[in-house]
């Protein structure tokens, strides 16, 4: 027993060291967001002094230069609606694929699976041109693009789970006079809820942080948070470091809030998503 205690103490110290390495980058950014812009790049590891303390000036100038507040709104709008669309439509599609099994549904199933390994660069040019031609280059149209791109992983995960749902309850609902639409929403979807949460979380993490897709499709008119941050880097690589630090902090805050409030589901979702993969 004694030996295990010593060993665990050593491991505890190793874990503390790792934890410091994982947290400190975020703290360094937070600390620098309160320093004057010229003191940041040369001495990033030093706390603000009386000379270098900038108050909230970086935040006010950063918010004004990047249009952070509308960006936050667009990021929230696009993420929430796209995730809702993905959960509603791909779960229904997955159920259809499993329950109306045939050659056609098998082909679409494998097309969905196939789409998961294709790099975005393969379709980025043609997809953004098509989005443009079809007038999908606005915050509502991009939701359809996200539904199409998110379909692969989401259909795959839903159908993996639906295969284990017993047919009996659905047949009982049919006998009670439910049509397939009612059966699905009254009986099947409540059973799918854990998978739906997993799918929602994985897609939220992707869409909220996505840069290139929204940049190519709507970036010239609507900036999401990642686009607004990249926009701070001027044409010739000159960056207002103060504003940059403040924007990084503002970009991290919503993520940390999301994480701390739904951590239990996120950790479970990641583990569950991997088993299905």
């Amino acid at each position: 027993m004694k030996k295990t205690n010593v060993l665990n103490a050593v491991f505890f110290i190793v874990l503390i060291a790792f934890a410091i390495m994982f947290v400190s980058p975020v703290f360094i950014v937070l600390m620098n967001s309160f320093k004057t812009k010229f003191s940041i790049s040369q001495t990033p590891f030093i706390l603000p002094s009386a000379d270098t303390f900038a108050g909230i000036e970086n935040y006010t100038s950063g918010i004004a230069n990047t249009g952070f507040i509308p960006s936050f709104g667009w990021s929230l709008f696009i993420t929430l609606l796209s995730v809702a669309a993905i959960v509603i439509f791909t779960s229904m599609t997955a159920w259809y694929i499993v329950r109306a099994k045939g050659t056609f549904t098998s082909i679409i199933y494998y097309l969905f699976v196939f789409s998961m390994i294709v790099p975005f660069q393969m379709v980025m040019f043609t997809m953004s041109k098509i989005a443009n031609i079809l007038r999908l280059d606005n915050p509502l149209g991009i939701i359809i693009i996200y539904l199409g791109f998110g379909a692969g992983l989401s259909v795959f995960m839903f159908s993996g789970f639906i295969k284990s749902v017993p047919l009996g309850i659905e047949e009982a609902a049919t006998i009670d006079g439910c049509n397939p639409f009612q059966t699905y929403w009254k009986v099947v979807f409540p059973i799918l809820k854990p998978t739906a949460i997993t799918v929602a979380i994985l897609n939220t993490m992707w869409i909220w942080n996505d840069y290139l897709l929204p940049y190519l499709v709507i970036g010239s008119d609507y900036k999401t948070i990642p686009i607004a941050i990249q926009y701070l880097k001027g044409g010739y690589g000159s960056i207002d470091m103060g504003a940059m630090m403040a924007m990084l902090v503002l970009a991290i805050i919503p993520v940390v809030v999301f994480y701390l409030t739904s951590q239990k589901y996120i950790i479970k979702g990641v583990a569950a998503g991997a088993v299905k993969g």
Binding site: F11, F22, M92, I117, I144, A151, N179
Partner: protein
């Protein structure tokens, strides 16, 4: 029952299928075709055969050097991420004090977006190199290790969660039987733990390999390829070919097809090889 379901196709499957066609399937097929064409927009294509593919490899060696850079990056980061993530998972399944807090901390960077991560690490690495009179863009080696460190910081937590789930699924009686038999910790690790978590290893390797290959945002924010495109990964090279020079869209599309084939072949090969190990164990 089945036929009634089939009649509901327009409600259940059509919306997703239409979106899938618009966002993925049609662009994918057009992309394949256009890689053999000269074009500016997608509607003015002229067939040119393999010319784009020849130019992709021949014009300058940017594509080949970005491929080599990417492969070096993938090999080193896949190994480091998985070794560190697995080690942390082992430490966090021993009942050490504060396990939940550590897990929370290690996973946190994964939720931060690639662009934000890139600028965070640019600040830290530049601040460190500044003392020696360098910056991250003064030498390709700095950019390379910067990307490796950044990717480790981002992905270790995610893989750790998957490994923890795998380790927790190992039946406790096997572990206890091994202890009763007096097996050394090393033997338990190599003969029980690792074979039992092969499914987790398969998925973690798949996720790290494909994500490391496709890395774009982090590359753009951290170095944007500097100095002189030496730290440019394939995804960024394809992007720059498409949007950097007018008249090379076809070459960009040809590079994208080659990139797709490489990623698909490596990912499927890896799945095949590690899945085979799962069956054996």
């Amino acid at each position: 029952m089945e036929n009634t379901v089939k009649r509901w196709f327009p409600v259940f499957a059509l919306p997703t299928l239409v979106a899938f066609l618009i966002a993925f399937l049609i662009p994918f097929c057009m992309g394949l075709y256009l890689s053999f064409c000269n074009f500016r927009t997608v509607t003015d294509a002229q067939f040119v055969g393999l010319a784009n593919y020849i130019r992709a490899f021949g014009d300058n060696n940017e594509f080949v050097s970005s491929l080599i850079f990417t492969i070096k990056f993938v090999i080193v980061s896949v190994i480091t991420i998985n070794v560190i993530a697995f080690t942390l998972a082992l430490l966090l399944t021993r009942g050490v004090t504060g396990t939940n807090l550590f897990r929370t901390v290690f996973f946190m960077p994964n939720l931060i977006g690639g662009i934000v991560l890139g600028y965070i690490w640019q600040l830290i690495i530049n601040g460190f190199l500044y003392r020696f009179g360098y910056s991250i863009t003064s030498n390709a080696t700095f950019g390379y290790w910067g990307l490796v460190i950044l990717t480790n910081w981002q992905m270790i937590g995610y893989m750790m969660i998957i490994y923890i789930a795998g380790i927790q699924n190992i039946p406790t009686d096997i572990m206890e039987a091994a202890k009763v038999d007096g097996a050394s910790p090393a033997r338990v690790l190599f003969n029980i733990t690792i074979p039992s978590v092969m499914p987790s290893i398969t998925i973690c390797l798949f996720l790290t390999i494909t994500n490391a290959f496709k890395l774009f945002d982090q590359n753009l924010a951290l170095t944007a390829g500097a100095p002189s495109k030496q730290t440019q990964m394939v995804a960024l090279d394809i992007y720059n070919t498409f949007y950097g020079r007018i008249g090379s869209e076809g070459v960009g599309q040809a590079k994208a097809v080659v990139f797709f084939v490489i990623v698909a072949v490596i990912a499927l090969l890896q799945l095949y090889l590690t899945r085979r190990k799962e069956v054996e164990s």
